[in-house]
């Protein structure tokens, strides 16, 4: 596929996903700066924009069920508990940037079933098959977590916790960085550990 036709396909498929970046650009969202805007379809194909949640705290979770590190947090019910923990005022967007040609790719229908099986509770689940949203944020691995505060500023970029393994048992003893950041944010304090290296499987970008 030539670059031009790939670009066209991307445009059609992703319905003009990320406004500010070309599909090839890989940039890192920077803590302390406005979070990159994006629009991506949810599992029902309905477009969801970051701008839809203006004035609310938004948490982004990069996801791929094929990844043992994601499995660790879903099998232990750690991720689902986290999705419910902060209540309805906090928006949780789970984003999957696995490209359609990869063995880990799951269709929206399959994902809907799997998420139900795990009793997953994100506000919305977004399909980012083009990888445009992931690239705009510089998302590296699954799981990779971001927190955007109510003013639209990125306040956290990093790992889910400090136990950098795929071992389910480690969840019990881990220090959860997202919980710590949210506690500080809610107390009106700056996030002390705002940027760290996430761990997990490489995102299967197109």
């Amino acid at each position: 596929m030539t670059r031009a036709s790939r670009r066209l396909t991307l445009k059609l498929a992703a319905a003009a996903t990320v406004a500010l970046l070309s599909p090839a650009a890989f940039a890192a969202a920077v803590v302390g700066q406005p979070a990159p805007a994006f629009t991506a379809p949810d599992l029902a194909g309905k477009p969801v924009s970051l701008a839809d949640f203006k004035g609310k705290t938004v948490i982004l979770e990069w996801h791929n069920f094929g990844c043992p590190f994601v499995q660790k947090h879903y099998k232990s019910n750690n991720m689902q508990a986290l999705q419910r923990r902060f209540g309805p005022d906090v928006v949780w967007l789970t984003i999957n940037s696995t490209h359609a040609g990869h063995q880990d790719y799951q269709s929206p229908a399959v994902l809907t079933q799997e998420l139900k099986k795990f009793d997953s509770a994100p506000t919305r689940f977004l399909m980012d098959e083009s990888g445009a949203v992931g690239r705009a944020y510089g998302a590296k691995v699954t799981p990779h977590l971001y927190i955007i505060d109510a003013t639209g500023k990125l306040v956290y970029n990093g790992a889910i916790d400090d136990k950098r393994t795929a071992n389910v048992d480690d969840v019990k003893t881990a220090k959860n960085f997202v919980v710590a950041a949210m506690d500080e944010l809610r107390a009106g304090k700056p996030v002390s550990n705002a940027s760290n290296a996430p761990y997990g499987c490489t995102i299967k970008y197109k």
Partner: protein, 722 residues
């Protein structure tokens, strides 16, 4: 990957580990996981109480699968080992071999492929009793191809405690030798420091004396979430050392006081055996000293080669248009002696050579002193001063008038060609040497650019040696003629033809004045040229008065001539308050005509902007006072074939005009290892280093170089690198 597969995998690894095999000293049965074969190895068949021994965890990965270094990069996890040892024994940390950079889509990992041995030191208890002992290592690692699998294995190693050294025989020698060869070394004598500006880390590596840093070096940081791993690391030479510009993850953590990691070279580090990787812990400084000019690529930093180039370059200088008039006069001076006094001729040659040498070295010493004081100056710097240009124009005019016979020198200096006294002649010869030097410096001969660039980065003694050699090269043809006058004897005997020749030689001198007037125009504008010419007119009148009444009224003549000369110089002298930036249009950048190259002025910002979007760039480092530059511009650069080639390849032509003092251009030249003009640099998209074109150009040479670049259409259809 399914859950089923994941569960099955863990089970398989544990089952394999559980099957403990009969203990065999020094080795253990390998354990096979889904993608890796793992085993423990020891360097000795047995250990002695209290004596450390090296053991290795060997991971043989399936083709295309990777395990990871201590900093795995953007994803991945480092391999871990948890030892279970007898009471009183101790295990050291993993000694990590240097990793390879593994690009995965837009991400970068640091790890290993095929086969890796991770060494650790095991120290037995000092009072270990002789007899069989089993070491147990629980190892876990992440192995990735396109997908990642966390794997683990429990490995055992039978390692008896021996009672005598003879029982602890070497084992697995070749494997351990190979593993050690991949370990980073502490580079004694090499010094690293760094600074952070914005999100850019600059690492500076200074080699010990006599060593030169390798040309391709990559930094692998120990710390995670510090360096932007996939970003290109830009290497620049810094004398014999290097500077590496490394993009950092934003926001840059405050209070970083050290950049620690490995520097991995494309080849072995000089003076460090076969080692490809060195450990560095570069303290973060407030700022780094300015980069030294690096050795020119054509030179490879060798002093002897620089001397050879300097000698050849000096000889070629004689053919340059700036030197020619002075040389012409010198040769004519020889003719007078060519048919007679050999000794006088030789002495003349030697004195001329001394004149060249002394003035060259004095000029170089002045340049070095000014540079040491922090001034961003380059070779030919004196011509960046309008005052110097004016003085030189006045001097050349007077010399020309003298040759026409308008006046004769009196008093302190004899005529350049008159045959008065021996002492006067030697004075002339010395003066001719000084003059030749003064006008020669702006003419960079081929081979000289790299030599001058090299030499200014060296210790002063080396610098001066190179400049002295350059001077010797320039004086050499004249010196040889004076010692072997056979060639001169073929010239006709002195006679009336010499007067004709003398007058003829005035024209190249006056041509030089014309050129200097144009240089001044470029530096200080139109009005300065008018002032110069008016001043020169008065100076001519002074010379005429001085010559016309040479045998008449003594004091009136001197006063009148002196007054005219003084007024002339006062008019011509460029105002000190004339800022260089007052010149709105540089003569180097005329509006493009049909079939000519569309030059744009060079600025560091414009250049960076073009490079950032991958536009190929051609830079012409030029100056009005650089004659070679002007010749090249007319015969090679501003030609239709070049303009067409540039248009075809989308090349943007930038002109860096060094006519006036500009520290930014001096710095840009230094980055290329140059300090003299002309320099022609062609930057291809995606290539960090430019192609440097020769100092003497032809239109087809330039066009050919440009057409070697990929055409923009072809570049657009290439898929982005993954």
């Amino acid at each position: 990957m399914s859950f089923l597969r994941f569960a099955r995998l863990g089970g398989a690894a544990l089952a394999a580990a559980a099957a403990i095999l009969p203990a065999m000293p020094g080795v253990a049965a390998p354990v096979r996981t889904e993608r890796v074969t793992a085993e423990l190895l020891a360097e000795r068949s047995a250990v002695l109480p209290g004596q450390p021994v090296t053991v290795g965890l060997r991971l043989v990965m399936d083709k295309g699968w990777h395990t990871y270094w201590r900093n795995p990069g953007d994803s991945g996890l480092p391999t871990r080992i948890a030892w279970t040892l007898p009471e009183g024994w101790a295990a050291g940390p993993i000694q990590w071999p240097y990793p390879e950079a593994q690009r995965v889509g837009p991400l970068m990992n640091y790890g290993y492929s095929n086969d890796v041995v991770l060494l650790s030191t095991i120290t037995p208890s000092a009072n270990a009793a002789p007899g069989p002992v089993t070491l147990t290592a629980k190892a876990d690692w992440l192995v990735c191809e396109d997908i990642c699998i966390p794997e683990k294995a429990t490995l055992t190693l039978a390692l008896p405690v021996a009672s005598s050294a003879s029982e602890a025989k070497p084992a697995n020698a070749s494997l351990f030798d190979k593993a050690r060869a991949n370990l980073p070394v502490d580079a004694k004598g090499w010094r690293a420091e760094s600074s952070i500006a914005g999100n850019l880390l600059t690492l500076r590596l200074v080699p010990p004396p006599e060593a030169t840093a390798p040309a391709a070096v990559t930094f692998f940081p120990f710390r995670e979430n510090f360096v932007d791993h996939p970003a290109e690391q830009r290497l620049a030479r810094d004398g014999n050392g290097i500077r590496l510009a490394v993009k950092l993850v934003e926001p840059v953590a405050p209070g970083l006081n050290e950049a620690a990691g490995l520097l991995v070279a494309g080849s072995a580090w000089p003076g460090l055996g076969e080692a490809r990787a060195i450990n560095i812990a570069a303290p973060v400084m407030a700022s780094l000293p300015p980069a030294a000019e690096s050795a020119g690529s054509a030179l490879g930093g060798s002093l002897i080669l620089a001397l050879v180039f300097a000698l050849a370059g000096g000889m070629l200088l004689n053919l340059m248009p700036c030197v020619f008039p002075v040389l012409g006069i010198k040769v004519m001076g020889f003719v007078q002696h060519a048919h007679g006094d050999n000794r006088a001729l030789r002495l003349q040659g030697v004195v001329f050579t001394l004149g060249v040498l002394v003035s060259f070295v004095a000029l170089a010493a002045l340049l070095l002193a000014l540079r040491a004081g922090g001034a961003q100056l380059g070779w030919g710097f004196q011509l960046q001063s309008p005052a110097f240009v004016t003085a030189l124009a006045a001097l050349f005019l007077l010399m020309g008038l003298n040759l026409f016979g308008v006046f004769e020198w009196g008093g302190f200096a004899q005529s350049l060609t008159s045959n008065v006294s021996a002492r006067g002649r030697y004075g002339d010869a010395f003066l001719a040497g000084v003059l030749a030097t003064a006008v020669a410096t702006p003419c960079t001969a081929p081979f000289m650019g790299a030599a001058v660039g090299f030499t200014l980065a060296q210790p002063p003694a080396v610098s001066l040696a190179v400049f002295a050699t350059l001077a010797l090269g320039m004086a050499l043809p004249v010196l040889l003629l004076s010692f072997f006058p056979a060639a001169l004897r073929r010239l006709p005997k002195p006679g009336p033809w010499m007067e004709t020749f003398k007058q003829l030689m005035a024209f190249p001198l006056l041509a030089t004045v014309v050129w200097l007037a144009w240089v001044l125009g470029a530096q200080a504008g139109n009005d300065a040229v008018l002032a110069l010419l008016a001043g020169l007119l008065l100076l001519s009148m002074a010379a005429w008065v001085y010559g016309r009444w040479a045998h008449g009224a003594g004091i009136v003549r001197i006063v009148a001539a002196g007054l005219l000369a003084a007024i002339g110089i006062a008019i011509a002298w460029p105002g000190g308050n004339q800022p260089a930036s007052a010149v709105a249009t540089s003569p180097g950048a005329p509006a493009a005509r049909q079939g000519e190259v569309n030059w744009q002025p060079w600025t560091p910002e414009r250049f960076a902007e073009l490079r950032a979007v991958g536009t190929p760039v051609f830079i012409d480092f030029t100056a009005a006072w650089c004659v070679t530059c002007q010749v090249n511009k007319r015969v090679a650069l501003n030609r239709e074939v070049v303009a067409k080639a540039m248009a075809d390849r989308g090349v943007v032509a930038l002109q860096a005009d060094w006519t006036n003092y500009d520290p930014r251009i001096t710095a840009a030249l230094a980055e290329l290892g140059r300090n003299a003009l002309p320099v022609y640099a062609l930057y291809a998209p995606g290539e960090p280093k430019p192609r440097l074109l020769p100092e003497v150009l032809t239109a087809s040479l330039v066009a050919d170089e440009i057409l070697k670049l990929p055409s923009p259409k072809a570049a657009a259809s290439t898929p982005p690198s993954r």
